[in-house]
């Protein structure tokens, strides 16, 4: 049995393009003396976490932990969290925003349910490796653009290739609900004020037609319609429909219509005005993936911190809430996901519930609640240790992170440059 003191930082001697994915867990490990944030609202002080073969075997008081682990780690009072899950990300789909050749997020066309994000996911992206050291260990990777952007998949962020990274393939389809309002494009000289969108009804009708046909389509049909085939899981509940909508009336109409078309699992994404539809969301148990709080309010008159208090309003109403990443510089900002949860906590979400925004809630939305999202025996050993509160940038300093029990590298292209140039400067 080996004993490792945590605080030592392993510095790689070689500069390499990417971090090497960690090998499978080959010995059982017990980590002692952690503050365990279970992910479901519960926190256990002075806890121990045991895991073997990639699966958690024990979570509970350090004193009651079973013995017999190959390796024991004294955590020295660190905080343990289930691996954070980024929702509606484009991680691995774009490497450098301004370089078109590296951009694989938005396919040509409007109705593209058969487009699959998973296969374009670049497991060797330098951006992906830069988000892990902050605790983001898994991500829903989704395409962008169009009316139906395509299918998203859940990936773990330490793998040789997309296939190894896959946790759940094509689990959902992303629909952008038509906007009842319209803004002219100022750069084309159009009037940029917000007005009623005259073609709204027509746009909704075109979704209705598409949905009706998709529902009527049978897999054995000849010729087989590939996009409709991709939609079939929506009607038997094997896939989720992620509907992107911000305005109150959009939310109301989209949910009403989607249920009418027989879509079984609906998840709302964006939802700046979700507080207007709390009853509806509660009544149908619709989860909501809210945008980053680090946005400006829509209006000059809006509460200064409206984007921060959105989380509180939904969480207090008992809705299942997670955080999505779409927006400016979204790939690189995925590493700030923990701080988004921290910001929601600052404006009223109780701390452990803020942790749940990144863990058990997204796990539940993704239908992976039996595998990830909490620190519980039987679940995947995908979690990390931070020297302090992982939702606060001052103290989010990771010492260990595991994906399926594999001790993954917390280094990156960036830490290597840091090392190299620190040596040069000193």
């Amino acid at each position: 049995m080996k004993k490792i003191i945590l605080l030592s930082l392993l510095v790689p001697c070689l500069i390499q393009a990417q971090q090497t994915p960690a090998p499978p867990q080959n010995e059982s490990i017990l980590i002692k003396g952690v503050t365990a944030h279970i992910g479901n609202g519960v926190v256990i002080e002075n806890a121990a976490i045991g895991f073997d073969n990639g699966v958690i075997t024990y979570v509970g008081a350090t004193g009651s932990a079973p013995s017999g682990y190959d390796q024991t780690i004294e955590s020295d009072g660190q905080h343990a969290y289930p691996g954070f899950i980024g929702m509606n990300t484009t991680l691995g789909l774009v490497e450098i925003d301004a370089v078109r050749a590296t951009d694989d997020e938005d396919e040509l066309g409007e109705m593209l349910p058969h487009i699959r994000a998973a296969i374009a996911y670049n497991a060797e992206s330098q951006v992906v490796e830069s988000v892990r050291p902050n605790g983001v260990l898994m991500a829903q990777v989704a395409p962008r653009g169009g009316r139906i952007s395509g299918s998203s998949s859940v990936m773990q962020l330490d793998a040789w290739n997309w296939e190894d990274a896959l946790m759940k393939a094509d689990e959902g389809i992303h629909l952008h609900w038509p906007n009842p309002f319209y803004r002219g494009r100022w750069w084309l000289g159009e009037d940029p004020t917000l007005k009623r969108n005259d073609s709204y009804t027509k746009e909704v009708q075109s979704i209705a037609d598409y949905m009706t046909k998709a529902k009527a389509h049978r897999e054995k049909q000849n010729p087989k319609h590939l996009p409709y085939t991709a939609m079939s899981g929506l009607f038997d509940g094997s896939k989720s429909l992620y509907v992107h909508a911000d305005y109150g009336e959009q939310i109301e109409e989209s949910i009403d219509q989607l249920m009418g078309w027989g879509v079984k699992k609906i998840v709302l994404v964006g939802a700046h005005e979700a507080p207007k539809q709390l009853d509806l969301l509660k009544q149908h148990d619709i989860p909501v993936i809210i945008p980053r709080p680090h946005r400006l309010p829509y209006n000059e008159d809006e509460a200064l911190k409206s984007t921060f208090t959105l989380g509180t309003k939904l969480v207090e109403a008992g809705i299942t809430v997670a955080i999505e990443m779409s927006g400016r510089m979204e790939r690189m900002n995925t590493r700030n996901l923990p701080f988004y949860a921290g910001s929601f906590a600052a404006y009223g979400v109780p701390y452990e519930k803020a942790v749940a925004l990144l863990t058990s809630n997204p796990a539940k939305i993704l239908g992976l609640e039996n595998e990830i999202g909490t620190l519980e025996a039987g679940k995947r050993a995908t979690f990390f240790l931070s020297k302090g509160d992982a939702l606060d940038m001052r103290t989010n300093i990771l010492s260990h992170a595991y994906i399926d029990g594999r001790a993954i590298s917390l280094e990156s292209h960036q830490t290597e440059l840091y090392q190299r140039y620190s040596e040069k400067v000193n």
């Binding site: 490497e95 450098i96 925003d97 301004a98 370089v99 330098q126 951006v127 830069s130 009842p180 309002f181 803004r183 100022w186 009037d191 940029p192 004020t193 917000l194 007005k195 009623r196 305005y247 109150g248 009336e249 680090h294 946005r295 400006l296 829509y298 209006n299 000059e300 008159d301 509460a303 200064l304 911190k305 510089m329 790939r331 690189m332 590493r335 700030n336 701080f339 921290g342 910001s343 906590a345 600052a346 939702l391 606060d392 940038m393 001052r394 103290t395 989010n396 300093i397 960036q414 830490t415 440059l417 840091y418 140039y421 620190s422 040069k424 400067v425 000193n426």
Partner: protein, 989 residues
């Protein structure tokens, strides 16, 4: 200008004067010399003067006499007009009457156009100084009619195109006779604006600040040209010189641009008459101090359609106030004693113009001032006080005859005489009969409801007997009313009347049994004929939006007790410490302080820091880039500070107190910066940090190479070219400086025999840099270019003050330290373009350890409100101590801006710019509770909260007003939510 056919002369009916020296072959050359006399009038010879029972005598297009004791010559045609009023014709100084609009040149090439199309004139196509509107002007009867119907008999017209628009023409709007009579002045005024010509795609200037700089440069160039030192001809500059004695009219059109025009005008002592926006009441003190005369439009916004709640809630209180307060503008400008004329520009019809004019009076503008602004004021501004805008002997006989006092709602303009020629506007006999009348015919009690009685075609009559409607026909022309009536039972009647007075219809007709009858119908009750309501105007706040202050906050004396105080001084972080401020300064920092006069704030458990300083911001500006040239050192952000930007308040809520608004990164040499304090509610001028060292933005890399958008024809396209841009400009600036230095050393006598160098604002700015009087903050990314610029600077004996962004600073931190450059970077941005591929969040830490003064900046209107959290990332990435990390957003940027003697730490004598935090200032959970600038509480979390309720209250009130307005028949506009643009370095204007 067209020469009208002789046929026009044939149609003339009255007072054929013509041109005495013109030959005629159509008859004998007899001259008519009648007088025209108008008697029994109420005469308003000039604003404020009324003569009852007056007489107006005119001949040959001019006033001969006006008054109560006018002797009427025998050869007079007399019109007796009892009850009618006469006013001088109005004058509109801002029109494009008779000038065709320009078809915009829409074809755009693949790349931006940098070179001018025009030859012989100025280097910039938007300077159209030598244009003369007279060359395109031609009289337009249809347009003239519209102006006359609104009361305007004289218009000053010009072509609305360009930054310098050349000269305008003063025209009398008479359909009679020829252009010889109409054109009063062929070069009446010079016109200007900030808007580019539609005839050219030349890129410069791409921003308002560029247009301001261009105005200044043209002014200096004209002065220089006058000395005869230009080696070449410049027709525009010659024209500009010729126009110096003309009245100058500047179209500004939005409230901040009005102030900007006033500022440039004052700088150049040009005394521009500014065509304003209609929102001048928000900035009266500033406008008053500039001293320009204004031309006010009366195009008051329509109330919003309130029937769509979802859309309605997206319009802002500011927009609602725009509607509610606009009619108060003329009255408030008048009360501030700012001289102004009124224009019809922007009004959709003569009726709405007159309605809005009356509305302005109903909202407090005196009738005397209203008339003056339409007559004597514009006449004076155009230098025609003796002949226009007044009814007195020898003035042109330009006047309107109205059915009653002009400002009464029922009054109509009946005739409009221009140069003595009569133009009929409304028929005096055609009275407004709208209303419900009762008519007893035999045993039948009828109700007649008349609508649209003044519009012959549209007149409508509804006849009711109780619940039963009668069929009818109606005709009302020339005061003659004819009605036929019939009901289902076969009864019919014919009624006829000559209407003499409103409210009473009586005449003859044929009754139900076929006999002649006498009938009369009287107005049922006094109908409320008011067509507009006067709503209670909302209080104007500073700035005039939801979060503005009703009263500007004042300096306070405060003692904060028992806080954790981050001094940024050798004392470090003090626990249980007190901070005393007063008179805008920090008085003391320490423990157990007491002060009997100060308000004591218990800050137990809270933290106090100096205010956050953002070295790189783009909020609070109306434009950010002048990318029309690869150097734009002549522009300054100080010209375009937008003090109303809500992001100022949002930044205060994040603890920010001072920002440097940098020019963008569209070109290697950008514009000068503005360093402002976030004094929410103050004017742009008052926000500028007093006595701050001046800075300028430079830029390197992909943006200045235009790598990420399709532009391929501007030098430089590579980093190699970027270097040469700097070398070239610095070299030229050096030579420019030498030339001026030598010239300035000459004696006055020598100067007379020496060519004076041309004054060049761009070169002046660069010369300041070379003299060490202006400092560079340079947008930069990769190590090669950073190193290059330091070497170029060293070659010219200067130092790069700050590299901003500087994401590869960590690779050359040692060189930066040696050079003495500071690094203002992002905490963790990267991967957004190729040149930030190697950007690392440890950059700040490495530079700091190498001895570089490091700051974290925002370049982003959202992130700037949580720079405290960005500072915390220096602790996470690279292990910087908490105290040092905090200095990244306070003391260090203060040093970069050379302001650390005044701000950046908590020390007695420094500015009281500080923040009271609920928690550790770098915690993700902390919130700014109060933010003070110069000892004034500009942000208070509690106020922000109650303010939301007040916004909601006021919106409710204004929505109720709009419901009333709509129900009262006012035309509405669809609610629209304006998009606020966020600026970043790359924003191209």
């Amino acid at each position: 200008m067209k020469n009208y056919l002789l046929g026009v002369f044939l149609m003339m009916s009255l007072s054929v004067v013509g041109q005495t020296y013109y030959p005629t072959n159509l008859g004998t050359k007899t001259k008519e010399s009648h007088f025209q006399a108008f008697t029994e009038l109420t005469l308003h010879p000039q604003p404020g003067e009324t003569i009852e029972n007056g007489t107006l005598l005119i001949r040959d297009g001019k006033v001969v006499a006006a008054g109560s004791q006018v002797k009427i010559p025998e050869n007079s045609v007399v019109r007796s007009l009892p009850g009618q009023h006469v006013y001088a014709s109005f004058i509109d100084l801002y029109t494009s009457f008779g000038i065709d609009e320009i078809d915009p040149k829409t074809t755009r090439g693949r790349s931006t156009q940098y070179k001018a199309n025009q030859e012989g004139g100025y280097w910039n196509d938007h300077i159209l100084g030598d244009y003369q509107a007279i060359s395109d002007y031609s009289y337009n009867e249809k347009e003239a009619k519209i102006y006359r119907e609104a009361g305007f008999g004289i218009v000053n017209t010009h072509r609305e195109d360009g930054i310098h628009r050349g000269t305008g023409v003063l025209v009398a709007l008479t359909d009679e006779k020829s252009e010889n009579d109409r054109i009063l002045l062929s070069q009446s005024a010079a016109y200007y604006s900030f808007s580019k010509s539609k005839q050219s795609n030349q890129s410069y200037p791409s921003s308002v600040m560029g247009a301001m700089a261009l105005h200044r440069q043209v002014y200096h160039d004209a002065n220089w040209y006058r000395t005869g030192n230009s080696p070449t001809k410049d027709l525009d500059l010659e024209a500009v010189l010729n126009q110096r004695s003309l009245p100058k009219i500047f179209e500004a059109n939005n409230k901040l641009n009005v102030l900007r025009a006033a500022k440039v005008s004052t700088d150049l002592k040009e005394n521009w008459i500014i065509k304003a926006s209609g929102q001048e009441f928000e900035h009266l003190n500033s406008l008053k101090s500039y001293g320009n005369s204004l031309i006010l439009p009366l195009n008051f916004p329509k109330p919003y359609d309130v029937s769509d709640p979802a859309l309605l809630e997206k319009i802002t209180l500011g927009q609602m106030r725009d509607w509610n307060q606009a009619p108060t503008n003329p009255a408030k400008v008048a009360a501030a004693k700012i001289p102004f004329a009124i224009t019809m520009d922007g009004a959709d019809s003569p009726d709405t113009f007159i309605e809005n004019l009356r509305r302005a009076v109903a909202y407090g503008l005196s009738e005397k001032q209203a008339l003056a602004s339409l007559t004597t004021v514009p006449a004076k501004l155009i230098g025609q006080s003796e002949s226009l805008g007044i009814i007195k002997p020898k003035a042109w006989a330009n006047f309107i005859i109205t059915s009653g006092p002009f400002f009464e709602l029922d009054s109509k303009i009946l005739d409009h005489y221009v140069k003595g020629n009569r133009h009929r506007i409304n028929d005096a006999k055609q009275l407004d009969l709208d209303g419900t009348y009762t008519l007893q015919l035999d045993t039948h009690a009828l109700e007649l409801e008349l609508e649209n009685s003044t519009q012959e075609e549209e007149i409508e009559l509804t006849v009711m007997e109780g619940e039963v409607e009668w069929e009818n026909t109606i005709k009302y022309e020339d005061g003659q009313l004819n009605i036929t009536l019939s009901n289902a039972e076969g009864l019919s009647a014919i009624l006829e009347a000559k209407v003499k007075q409103p409210g009473m219809l009586k005449g003859t007709g044929i009754g139900f049994v076929g006999d002649p009858i006498q009938w009369n119908a009287s107005l049922k009750e006094e109908e409320n004929k008011e067509r507009f309501l006067v709503f209670k105007p909302a209080t104007t706040s500073y700035p005039n939006n939801g979060f503005g202050f009703k009263k500007r906050p004042q300096q306070v004396r405060i003692l904060f007790k028992n806080a954790t105080v981050w001094t940024n001084e050798v004392e470090g972080v003090l626990s249980n410490a007190d901070v005393l401020i007063g008179n805008g300064k920090i008085i003391a920092v320490g423990t157990n302080l007491s002060d009997t006069t100060a308000t004591v704030i218990d800050a137990t458990g809270k933290h106090i820091t100096s205010g956050i300083i953002d070295e790189h911001s783009h909020i609070a500006a109306s434009s950010i880039n002048e990318g029309g040239h690869n150097s734009s050192a002549e522009v300054t952000i100080e010209d375009v500070v937008d003090p109303d930007d809500i992001d100022i308040y949002r930044n205060l809520a994040g603890g920010v107190t001072t920002i440097q608004i940098l020019h963008g990164s569209a070109n290697p040499i950008g514009g000068r910066s503005a360093i402002i304090k976030l004094k929410w509610g103050e004017t742009a001028e008052n926000m500028l940090f007093p006595n701050a060292d001046p800075f300028i933005k430079f830029a390197l890399g992909e943006n200045v190479k235009q790598s990420n958008w399709g532009s391929y024809n501007r030098f430089p396209q590579t980093r190699m070219g970027v270097e040469q841009v700097f070398v070239d400009y610095f070299q030229r600036a050096k030579e420019y400086g030498t030339e001026w230095t030598q010239y300035n050393q000459l004696s006055a006598r020598q100067k007379r025999y020496t060519t004076q160098p041309r004054y060049d604002i761009e070169m002046e700015t660069l010369w300041e840099i070379l003299r060490g009087d202006r400092f560079i903050s340079c947008h930069s990314y990769v190590q090669s270019e950073i190193n290059m610029l330091m070497k170029v600077a060293e070659r010219f004996g200067i130092r790069i003050n700050t590299f901003t962004h500087i994401l590869e600073g960590y690779k050359v931190a040692d060189k930066m330290a040696t050079h003495g450059a500071a690094g203002s970077t992002f905490s963790d941005w990267w991967a957004y373009k190729y040149e930030v591929k190697d950007a690392i969040p440890y950059n700040g830490a490495i530079m700091h350890r190498a001895g570089v003064n490091v700051a974290f900046n925002s370049d982003d209107s959202e992130m700037s409100r949580r720079l405290n959290q960005e500072a915390a990332k220096a602790i996470k990435y690279g292990g910087i101590s908490e105290e040092d990390a905090w200095k990244f957003v306070t003391l260090n940027p203060a040093k970069m801006l050379h302001l650390d003697d005044r701000i950046g730490s908590l020390k007695a004598g420094k500015h009281a710019d500080l923040v009271l935090w609920t928690d550790h200032p770098m915690s993700v959970y902390t919130k700014a509770e109060k933010t003070l600038v110069d000892g004034i509480v500009y942000y208070d979390a509690e106020r922000a909260k109650t303010q939301l309720e007040k916004i909601a209250e006021e919106k409710k009130e204004l929505i109720a007003q709009m419901v009333q307005a709509a129900n009262n028949g006012m035309t509405t506009q669809a609610p629209m939510n304006p998009q606020k643009r966020e600026f970043h370095c790359e924003t191209l204007d």
